[in-house]
Symmetry: D2
Subunit: 292 residues, 4 copies
């Protein structure tokens, strides 16, 4: 594994590609807009002129795009990954998409002679920059083993969770937990503010007990400060909650709190706040209580 293609050089894809360069891989990147490709070139990678150009010599292809249709668009057709990558190439989809689409595309990839892994990540832009992403990987054990060096260059907690599609399933569960934990914290803070409690002190003691969480650590102060600069945008979290609630319904699994928070997030996005960090769910909790 020496040559890597990265398709999609956005907020996440670019720093991942740069970290691969820094780890000694030969990286060819492709992005619809030229600016991102230039940044990769400046960091020591190669700016490819097309998907076909990016993947032609690749031992592994990483795709990192926003949603299910975007992945379909870059892998399918005459210009896509499947038609242009060599047989035996690893295809690592780091995007967060629907598990059923991941499963179907994995089958297509296998039929095209590629070796698919679905490998969505958690940790955000900062985690991508610092190469400390959590990566939940679906696919065969052999392909997972072969991808170890590559994933190790961009992440820290890297776990094989089952066959193709499983990575996306775990990512969906991750997004459910995160959204519910954020809303729990938001409700608690609005409640504490309404009672005039010292909220700085309260967050400190809450963090020391069973209420402690990464969400409390990373989002509590943002809520107290009403600072909802992203970070991970509500619009994307809304997409993910659509994925997890639909997948739960498909499997006959009741997720009452997941469904409730999906309503709250969807509502906030409908009100125009999709560009806020997902901690901005606090705004909803406050507004529902007639507060700010």
């Amino acid at each position: 594994m020496k040559n890597i293609a990265v398709i999609g050089l956005g907020i996440m894809g670019l720093p991942m590609a740069v970290n691969l360069v820094n780890a000694g891989f030969m990286v060819a990147g492709f992005n619809r807009s030229q600016a991102a490709t230039d940044k990769l070139a400046a960091a020591g990678g190669r700016g490819a002129t097309s998907i076909a150009d990016a993947v032609k010599d690749a031992d592994a292809v990483i795709t990192m795009v926003p949603d299910s249709p975007d992945v379909e668009a870059v892998v399918s057709g005459n210009d896509g990954v499947f038609a242009n990558a060599c047989k035996g190439t690893l295809w690592i989809d780091a995007s967060s998409i629907r598990p059923d689409v991941a499963k179907r595309l994995s089958d297509d990839a296998t039929a095209a002679g590629l070796r698919p892994l679905d490998a969505p990540v958690s940790g955000g832009e900062q985690g991508a920059i610092d190469a400390v992403l959590s990566i939940m990987v679906g696919g065969t054990a052999g392909d997972f083993a072969d991808a170890a060096d590559i994933l190790g260059a961009v992440g820290k907690t890297i776990v094989h969770v089952g066959p193709s599609g499983s990575g996306q399933t775990v990512k969906a569960a991750n997004q459910l937990i995160v959204a519910v934990n954020i809303e729990a914290l938001a409700e608690a803070i609005v409640f504490l503010e309404a009672y005039g409690v010292d909220t700085d002190a309260a967050l400190k003691v809450l963090g020391g007990g069973l209420a402690g969480s990464k969400v409390l650590e990373q989002k509590g102060q943002k809520m107290l400060d009403r600072n909802f600069d992203p970070g991970f945008r509500l619009a994307l979290h809304n997409k993910d909650l659509g994925i997890v609630t639909a997948a739960a319904r498909e499997a006959g699994v009741a997720v009452p709190l997941g469904a409730a928070v999906a309503q709250l997030v969807g509502s906030l996005v409908a009100q125009g706040d999709g560009g806020l960090d997902h901690s901005g769910l606090f705004k909803q909790a406050a507004a529902l209580s007639g507060r700010k």
Copy 2:
């Protein structure tokens, strides 16, 4: 501060009293059943024969009983703490009760010449045994300072969060967050099991990202094992969710997820599972999905 009375030597009160003995305090304990008093005596404390006997020489009185009416019962009347403790005694209520009752009893205590602190704890039986409780304290700064040695002998994260009643308010918020985080985890695990994912691996990678929490660390494996030995009982958590939802309503604060989880917990208790650990909320999530 040398002589401490502890009223209520249950699962929490007894180990707290023992830790005070071990820290060098003179501890007189009272409990309705003799067995607990004997255990305190065996550990080096004094078994008192009545509340009056326990508090007569105390510099500080700690009460640790289940619910609002229990606190009222032990502090009020001719036989209660207020009528029998010396003027100037610190009264530290470590019970988890309604913030409005805490406020009212604090006023009564002040009128009786005592110095009240509401100081509910988080951390459970193990935290009490290990003297690592989180303690959220309401009252005056001066009384909080005077209680530092005592609270330091039973807890680790000890924070002054505001005037009388504030400790209970923060505890209420704590219980809201914990319940919601438990249910989020339960929904996620049922979802993952339904899709046949490797759940041990999944919990590992979820714990490494933004979904990580104390609840995931301490309750995830219990859910995978279907081991709901308490720990903190659902019946008590149900009581606490009644407190927080009523207090939220009183203040005009919307807590949609808090209210939803209160329904789920109340429902499980109504079905006869109040004696399970609160991680037993998983049973409800599984049953709602036709799973076990």
Copy 3:
């Protein structure tokens, strides 16, 4: 049964008193503000100067005030109904209050020698004016029979539902159903508007099938017109939802939709819309969808 006292001549109490006058009863009314008493006098009743003055010759006393503490205030004490009405007088509380308070006050009334009925009503101001209220009555069968003429003068559907307190329990259930049905309609209309459907036609066809309801008949057009003039105010409905959710929790009954709508109503009241008709819940449904 000839002489009736009516305590509380508000939006509901005044037209009820007038209808009693019109039915041939001798009616003495008392209200804190003089204006309402004058209106009763103009309609042929007698304006009493105090509760004692109103009830002194009464065969039956009707109380019609906003909330549990208001009922307690008018019946208790030296100036109240219980101390001044003759033994054997029927006491008909038409207010909507907590079932447990109704039960307790009924016991007090019985102890004072009165014959209590809790008889909350449904049907609103127009129903009161038209004497077509639904009345749900708790108390003994004998007292219910004796009150038949009186209740028949102000209502149309008058049903004995059980012992003391039962009337209030049924009223609580009524308010749960009404609130949930209103929110269901509001969600449906926002949904239909978002899809550009002909909503006038849609309400017509919805009303003809299993979705048909009094709420749809009486509130659908108000929602289409964004006309939320009260009618029955959200602030009062919020009070009632507090009653029913607390009573449900007390009895170990899960009311997930009742609890959810209580959050939505409470939230709207917190935002300052308590003075709107309860169909104004539509505003909340619209706002949550980023619409108006």
Copy 4:
């Protein structure tokens, strides 16, 4: 309009076809199982041997099948309605399916030279037998006018609600309202039973006020009797709630109660109760309260 083809002779389709025969139309019916076709023949219709055979001379084709894929299956392909019906034929889809699929198939029908109406119905098996269905129709005003006689032979409240797809959108809203109203009633009855109220009397008085609804009329007694023979099956209502919650999410519309009831219904179906009448949602409300 003289010759009608009916594709799908199930619980709903067969009585609709028979009512068309009774109204004087020439009706050719097709069903996958022969038994239903025989019943139509016995009632005076013609049993067709294929879809092509059924539609060859039809002025209008009615399709009445369970779900979106079923409609796609009977209209598409060489053997389907679109390939075999004459140009200008009215296609009336009485099935309840996704609005976006209805819109797409309407476009396909128009491209094939047919005139599409989406015309889902409400009223259940009894409504179909009695020819009193409510029918919500999407399509052009001209096609709606041309279908008047046909729809009038099977329904009573027949309303044009907008362009193609609108009928399904209104049906989705109908199913949301019905499910929420059923759950509201179920919660209220469990609450009343827990308090020992006379529930027969209570339903009578509730039905007389603002809580009155078709659901209360038709489903209240079934709940008191624990008689959940279908009627309209929970499994189908679950499908419909999936449609309406997905369509709401697509449009950015928050339906918090709709989403909550979808969880409750989905949960009951997952537990194996999909074959019960939708009033069987009562079982869920009771079980959540530890009652039967």
